[in-house]
């Protein structure tokens, strides 16, 4: 296992969620769930992040922000869509200003269902993402010339 999986730093972005999922993401950092046990730090800065946790259904105005932020995360990186809104737009699917699911804007690696997604669910999602992260790292190495 690489170090990458032992130290996943997350960046959380609220792409127009109702706050339910956001506060659960935050709750995951706090004593009862304490994701720092897995080396997870909430960096707040895309340039330091490995895992992009996105909540919310993405509205018109959020699109470019989401995309910009995603682009500023150095590779390898994974995106986790947290909550039903981020997965499909959820209850707001039919709103005129909603894209419905962040996969409409950036590629998503893991979907965490729930409305709101529970902290345990989020932890599960991150664990699942670590495997994908590791694969991406390997994939990134190969073009660099090593035999691998």
């Amino acid at each position: 296992m690489s170090y990458l999986t032992k130290s996943p730093w997350i960046l959380h972005y609220d792409a127009s969620s109702c706050n339910g999922c956001d506060i659960e993401v935050l709750a995951a950092l706090t004593p009862v769930y304490d994701v720092e046990r897995f080396g997870i730090i909430n960096t707040g800065n895309p340039k330091h992040a490995d895992i992009f946790l996105v909540t919310g259904s993405v509205n018109e105005q959020n699109r470019e922000i989401l995309k910009n932020t995603y682009d500023q995360i150095p590779n390898p990186k994974v995106v986790i869509a947290v909550g039903i809104c981020a997965s499909s737009g959820g209850i707001f699917r039919e709103c005129y200003n909603v894209m419905g699911g962040i996969d409409k804007v950036i590629p998503v690696d893991v979907w965490v269902p729930g409305c709101a997604a529970r902290p345990e669910s989020i932890i599960d999602g991150v664990v699942k993402a670590l495997g994908i992260l590791e694969e991406k790292r390997k994939a990134m190495k190969i073009p660099a010339g090593d035999t691998a």
């Binding site: 609220d14 339910g20 935050l26 706090t30 922000i65 707001f92 039919e94 709103c95 005129y96 709101a116």
Partner: protein
């Protein structure tokens, strides 16, 4: 020549759990100009009333926001009940009140945490949220949801709480109260906290009133508005003070919220003592025809649900005016001339909730 720095503050910024953007113009670290821009959460779900029956719209109203989800749901239901003239059973009114106050506890604790984080007091944040988990546990045990409770419906509530459980909650509140006392002491007595909050983001009583401040933002400046005093739910039968403070700075707003924690505990305990037995819902038939401005006190202040129906299953308008929306103009005033380091503190001090602001 003025030496200015322009900082695009947000929409992606660690201090803001929700996206909002400020163009900050600084000289050294003094904020000389600030222009907000919002709209990052606007989903436009008010328009969903045209597609969802008014009974299902409760679930959407609840998801106006994940923090005072319950109060949004309850306010919506009460609005519809007012239009349709439905008399809700007393027990349901009490339960609604209890859950509302639990929401307020959880919201204020959440806010205290974020607020502590805004001035870099990580430990305080962690402690506030640790206590908050105990509130959420009760929420989940009684409604099935931690943050989106989904326990309100038109005509009553969807779940009853057994009297044994109520007694247990009552006992639990005593110990939560002790923990909160320790927590709020730090907010109110610690020198470094006072350094960051006293005389920061001051807004006078006059300004607060005329710019439309509500909730703790208004009460921190001495404007005593608390919609619970209109007596919706079971509030009319309970005894509680409207907490105000006069300084109008971040410290005052924090003080008001700290004291409200204990008011809420008191209200819940009173309600548990008084709650009558009986059914928790009535059957609803027909459709709303008419309009009503239902107002309720959210943790952040006055909430207005304006509902208008025309006798069909689909309302013609739901307009949700949330406390943060009306607290934005005071916020813009508060930010003038503060320090860059004060920006997060001041922004947090109105307890901004963008999700419901923009709907």
């Amino acid at each position: 020549m003025t030496k200015q720095i322009i900082v695009p503050f947000g929409p992606q910024h660690p201090v803001l759990p929700e996206p909002i953007h400020l163009d900050l113009v600084l000289e050294d670290e003094k904020v000389v100009d600030v222009i907000p821009s919002i709209g990052y959460i606007h989903r436009g779900f008010e328009k969903l009333v045209e597609k969802r029956e008014f009974t299902e719209y409760v679930f959407i109203a609840e998801r106006t926001c994940g923090i005072c989800s319950f109060i949004h749901g309850a306010t919506y239901c009460q609005g519809i009940e007012q239009i349709m003239g439905i008399q809700v059973p007393e027990r349901a009114n009490y339960l609604r009140t209890i859950w509302s106050e639990y929401s307020r506890l959880h919201s204020h604790l959440l806010w205290l945490g974020l607020y502590a984080d805004s001035f870099g007091f990580e430990n305080l944040f962690m402690n506030a949220w640790r206590i908050r988990e105990r509130i959420l546990d009760v929420m989940e045990q009684t409604t099935g949801g931690r943050v989106i409770q989904g326990s309100c419906k038109i005509g009553g509530v969807r779940k009853d709480i057994s009297n044994a459980k109520l007694a247990e909650m009552n006992r639990d509140l005593d110990s939560i109260k002790r923990e909160m006392e320790e927590l709020t002491t730090v907010f109110l007595k610690d020198d470094t906290v006072i350094h960051r909050t006293r005389n920061v983001g001051v807004i006078s009583r006059q300004d607060a009133f005329h710019l439309g401040a509500v909730g703790p933002t208004a009460r921190g400046s001495g404007v005593a508005i608390d919609l619970r005093k209109t007596g919706y739910g079971a509030y009319g039968e309970l005894d509680f003070p409207v907490i105000t403070d006069s300084c109008g700075d971040c410290y005052s707003r924090c003080l008001v919220r700290c004291k409200e924690l204990f008011t809420s505990v008191d209200i819940i305990q009173q309600a548990i003592a008084k709650i009558p037995d009986g059914p928790v819902d009535v059957k609803v038939t027909g459709a709303p025809n008419g309009e009503f401005f239902m107002r309720a006190e959210q943790p952040r202040g006055e909430l207005v649900h304006y509902l208008k129906g025309n006798g069909t299953k689909f309302l013609i308008r739901s307009r949700i005016r949330t406390p943060t929306l009306t607290n934005i103009p005071p916020l813009v005033k508060m930010l003038q001339g503060c320090d860059l380091a004060d920006v997060p503190v001041i922004v947090l001090s109105i307890d901004p909730c963008i999700s419901c602001t923009e709907r």
